[in-house]
């Protein structure tokens, strides 16, 4: 399966976690694509941490407005019922537990839900942006990522080797090989779904974190 097809499947699977009435923050990159796959009948409001609730589609050429961007600095639009606010209010929403769900990318996730997604030692450090605040404050954190690095190294590990974004923060992991979920932050991750054509053994061979197997019927 191609990289594009894998990504699309990850994005579609993540979109199934959206619930009606949710306020959702989507990370930059693949998580942003989830906005294009919101299931029918599900009404959500997307938050952008630079100060926008109700992110709309990208603008037409005529609608482009330098004063209206998302956290990835892309030009966007605002939906009817949306609102603008300052960064201090934006992060009160995030840190104060008012956002239901954040979907983020990851370099590594540990068996206990630690997340590393902002820094590789020895490389230029760009900064964590709002990622540390999101994982500390949002009620549910879903990680979407390739199951292994481009060198084939597992990314779901006993312990993260990279600098952490947060400790014990991840609730669900969706990869090109399968889906892991845990009931709460004291419970271990369970493998609940396999991607088409992927076996339990394939997952085991690409994972060094300990996890339980509790496959659900597709």
């Amino acid at each position: 399966m191609s990289r594009e097809e894998n990504r699309l499947r990850i994005v579609r699977r993540a979109a199934r976690e959206l619930q009606d009435g949710f306020y959702v923050n989507l990370g930059i990159g693949i998580p942003t694509m989830v906005a294009n796959h919101v299931p029918d009948g599900i009404d959500i409001v997307l938050q952008s941490e630079n100060g926008l609730l109700g992110i709309g589609p990208f603008p037409s050429e005529a609608e482009v407005d330098a004063d209206l961007i998302n956290a990835g600095k892309q030009t966007v639009t605002i939906q009817d019922g949306g609102s603008f606010f300052g960064s201090h209010d934006s992060f009160a929403m995030i840190r104060g537990g008012h956002i239901n769900l954040a979907i983020l990318g990851a370099m590594q996730v540990s068996a206990t839900g630690d997340l590393a997604n902002w820094m590789i030692p020895g490389k230029m450090v760009k900064g964590m942006g709002g990622a540390m605040d999101l994982v500390a404050g949002v009620k549910k954190i879903i990680v979407v990522m390739d199951h292994t690095s481009k060198h084939g190294d597992p990314k779901f590990l006993p312990e993260c080797s990279l600098p952490l974004t947060g400790t014990n923060v991840v609730d669900m992991i969706i990869t090109n090989l399968g889906v892991f979920r845990r009931a709460d932050h004291d419970s271990p991750f369970q493998l609940i779904e396999l991607a088409p054509g992927v076996s339990e053994e394939d997952i085991a061979n690409s994972t060094t974190a300990k996890y339980e197997v509790a496959l659900e019927k597709a």
Binding site: G51, A66, D67, I78, S87, R95, K126, A136, G137
Partner: protein, 231 residues
């Protein structure tokens, strides 16, 4: 009361070398572009900037990096600027990376007279190293300090000579909160209006937080990632 000064040059003329300056904006959105250019022309050096980002090469705070006027940046994300990277890697530029929400809250706290606060953000990470950790209701929190500055340079859509300000769309970002946290807040506005023209119900920043108002002569409003849909 009249806080209007004639030009951006006049508004920044007393900023000394070594000053700490908050600069509003997110990426290039809502940055005080006229005031940044005026600081470049006035030439103070060894400046510490508190700003979410560091501009791009040749625009925004990137202009002041090019002229080596910046000694230190307190920011959450600085990845868009090659000159920044060069100066950081060579040790010419000091950088304090702060999570974006912690940065916003440090400024809010500073402006509200709160010297420190506890936040869950960054617990167990590099950001928490050397900082006090306390448990409240069995959850760990990291102590962060409030931030204040000698100056804040901010950008608003509309303002009057009392310093009342209204921001436009997502160009508010850090501007409103930074206005509260500096000894001298300088606001550049796209439209300078008469007192009474702004509906008091819809003022974002009350004039008490603003010391100087400048009607910006022009605004480039450069777009960092122009993204459009196919119709």
């Amino acid at each position: 009361m009249d806080k209007v000064v004639a030009s951006a040059a006049e508004a920044v003329a007393d900023i000394p070398s070594g000053a700490t300056i908050m600069a509003g904006g997110f990426g290039l959105c809502g940055i005080p572009e006229n005031l940044i250019a005026a600081i470049r022309d006035a030439g103070p050096s060894n400046l510490t900037f508190v700003s979410n980002n560091a501009g791009v090469d040749g625009f925004g705070l990137g202009m002041l990096l090019a002229t080596r006027q910046v000694k230190k940046m307190i920011s959450s994300y600085v990845g868009e600027n090659k000159e920044f990277e060069r100066q950081f890697l060579s040790g010419e530029l000091d950088v304090e990376l702060t999570p974006q929400g912690t940065l916003a809250e440090r400024i809010r706290a500073g402006g509200a007279g709160i010297p420190a606060f506890y936040t869950p953000t960054g617990y167990g990470t590099l950001v928490a190293e050397g900082k006090d950790v306390r448990y409240f209701d069995d959850q760990p929190y990291v102590m962060e300090r409030g931030l204040t500055a000698d100056y804040a340079i901010i950008k608003a859509w509309k303002g009057d000579r009392h310093g009342n300000l209204v921001f436009r769309k997502t160009a508010n970002n850090f501007n409103a909160v930074m206005a509260t946290a500096a000894k001298v807040t300088i606001a550049e506005v796209e439209e300078l209006v008469e007192p009474g023209d702004l509906d008091p119900n819809f003022i974002h920043t009350p004039g008490i937080f603003v010391q100087r108002v400048v009607h910006g002569p022009s605004f480039e409003k450069r777009i960092e990632r122009r993204t459009v849909r196919e119709d």
